[in-house]
Symmetry: C2
Subunit: 415 residues, 2 copies
């Protein structure tokens, strides 16, 4: 069977299975999630054995590794999702028209949702749980490096579902042994309602190029911290270090520090020193290079491409700007509209930065690292949208629904 | 200059111009719209002259034609948009986290929005007005058949803006003399935030195939009316005729009538007769063909392709189904998830139809023709979304915004 046919069959089975979700109450969906959580918890050993096979071919990968602790965290995550409010059947707008028609806009599931993701096996369960709670069937296409772990997790979740009112076909694995399956998923118009890619910039780029189905892009973050002329420089130092160093591999880590010229001579030596202590490498503009000469910290002159690079590593660009507007201009040119932070004690400057920014999240006197569903109290996150359509920023349960209009009349026709 | 460069330049100019929108208050945006309305009203004659040139090459086209009355309707439309509530700066969610961070999700404009549309010149002004009020710059790409009308309307709107605080570059025409410009618009990632196509199924298909920028598909509607076993057949007759005949060329007109077998013998002859009087042609299944024999109304046996055709004309498919579930099955196979109507006196059946449907709007005892922004009281409509992402069904002002998270702290970093 070729990939197109395979994906069509999986999607059709998923579509039929969504009927069991459509008629399931919120408490039946919650029970199914708790059954999944229990089953995963009780089969911890099997899961670690499957993961060991994956790790044998990719020994160094921390992202791929499962431990007892990590499996427990996965189980806790599923239980958390089961405790969240029901995102379905929420009335968003309601009115009665002069002709007597009653209008109600309510939330409904998308239907069949594809996930395309890389290494981390926890995404398999996190995504399935969020999609099930929001009434959607999940077609899960993980990385081939996690094939055994993902197959085991999906088979466990399906077994748990087989003892509930919800069809086990609402959770399905798309085989990771053939890259054509990804293409087929991205082209399954009318069969798959939505595909969410999670992973590298290269994966996102491929999805944008290939997709004929609706997608929500996640990921790519070239985030900036702008230290304003009215900044509290002590706070600024902590925010810059935290934004860059606390977890450099993720999308909400900072890649560029911009400093207002009036505080540059004072702030930049401290910032370089603190970041250097954590092993950060510097790509800087000429003015920063001048300032760095007073220190013994080595810096490289940045090339144009540096300013738009998501390092995902202990590297940072540093530049001096003449004004808040110049910072905005720089961010507009090189940024990815993910998260931008301003450090300032001036409310006026903060408001201006917010008004002129064009990103998913603006941080005022806080680390860029807070753009995160769990940190923001959403309970669970299926990804961070880096597009403007439908959902922007961290996406929880409530982003996994669409709406329908229910129009009730007594025989009204249009004049 | 090639199309890619041309569109990039227009988009850049539009992007810069959005700054004047970002700092404009709602009342400044409203004043700009009223200035546009006044200018169009006072230059009625010029507009009709430009339209006459277009009509000279496409004399039969009612869609292309402007009359004094139609220009007045355009002017009224702009004034209506100016009177709607401000869609910007609306706080959707707000909270304070245990660490003291204050979170606020507010509505913000997309930025630069492209419209690709066909014949009707009123779309040029409707779209520009809605986009301006929602803080977006408009790149308008109409049909070459309306080139003179659109050029005149855009030049009038820009002149009106030149006397306001809002840059005239927030409204720009993309030349319609080169089809490559459409392609360039659809590929202008990072330069154009959103493209909305309005027009034929072929246009929508091309957009889906080509687009690398986010799009909202509008249009294609294979809408059904299902006459349930518990229907009030008098109401059913009126709803079927209205859904098909009142304006057959539009997306919310019905293309297929499905009748429950228990009322088929009684209802179908009446329905065929009433529809035939309006000149409707019939494509029917075998059971309907049997029933039609008792009448003198000619019917064709439908081929499989008929059931998925959007006629946009006085043609209808008629079929008999064994149950509400069979109707849903048929609709799922051949429909486009736009608008589906059920005629029934049973609330239980209505609820079941609603639960099992998967469309933008479900009509209970009402004509499919009510899926319309103006009819539903939205005041103005930029199109009817036929996708699940972002907006579904009629889109008014509030669909033309995205959101941003404003996170305000006092130096918080992530632990």
């Amino acid at each position: 069977m070729d990939s197109v046919e395979l994906v069509a069959q999986l999607a059709l089975r998923a579509r039929v299975a969504t009927r069991s979700l459509k008629v399931a109450s919120a408490s039946e969906r919650r029970s199914a999630l708790l059954a999944i959580a229990d089953e995963i918890a009780s089969r911890n050993t099997e899961i670690l054995e499957a993961n060991a096979i994956d790790m044998a071919s990719d020994a160094g990968s921390d992202r791929l590794l499962l431990t007892e602790e990590r499996v427990n965290a996965i189980v806790d995550g599923v239980r958390q999702v089961a405790n969240l409010g029901d995102p379905l059947g929420v009335t968003l707008r309601e009115s009665t028209l002069p002709n007597g028609l009653h209008l109600k806009q309510v939330t409904v599931p998308f239907g069949v949702v594809g996930m395309i993701y890389e290494a981390r096996p926890n995404v398999t369960v996190d995504a399935a749980a969020i999609l099930l709670m929001s009434g959607n069937a999940a077609l899960l296409r993980g990385s081939s490096s996690a094939a055994q772990s993902n197959a085991k997790l999906v088979s466990i979740m399906r077994e748990a579902l087989s003892r509930t009112k919800i069809s086990q076909d609402v959770i399905q694995l798309v085989p990771s042994d053939d890259r054509e399956n990804v293409r087929a998923l991205l082209n399954a118009r009318g069969k798959v309602d939505l595909v969410i890619p999670r992973g590298s910039a290269a994966l996102i780029r491929m999805v944008v190029d290939e997709a004929k189905v609706p997608t929500i892009e996640t990921g790519a973050g070239v985030c900036h911290v702008y230290v304003d002329e009215f900044a509290d420089l002590e706070k600024a130092l902590q925010i810059v270090v935290n934004s860059k160093v606390q977890r450099p591999s993720v999308c909400n880590a900072a890649e560029t520090l911009l400093v207002h010229r009036s505080v540059a001579n004072e702030f930049i030596p401290h910032a370089l020193s603190a970041l250097a202590k954590s092993g950060v490498i510097f790509h800087v503009d000429q003015r920063t290079q001048e300032i760095a000469r007073s220190t013994d910290i080595p810096v490289d002159l940045a090339e144009s491409s540096n300013w738009s690079t998501e390092y995902g590593a202990l590297e940072i660009n540093v530049g001096v700007v003449d004004s808040l507007e110049a910072a905005i201009e720089h961010i507009g040119t090189y940024g990815t509209n993910h998260t931008e932070a301003i450090v300032t004690q001036s409310q006026e400057q903060a408001d201006r930065f917010i008004a002129l920014s064009d990103c998913a999240a603006v941080m005022v006197n806080a680390s860029t690292r807070f753009t995160d569903g769990e940190q923001m109290g959403f309970g669970a996150e299926i990804g961070i949208s880096n597009q403007k359509l439908h959902a922007r920023g961290p996406m929880g349960l409530e982003a996994m629904v669409t709406t329908t209009w229910i129009v009730t009349g007594t025989g009204q026709i249009r004049q």
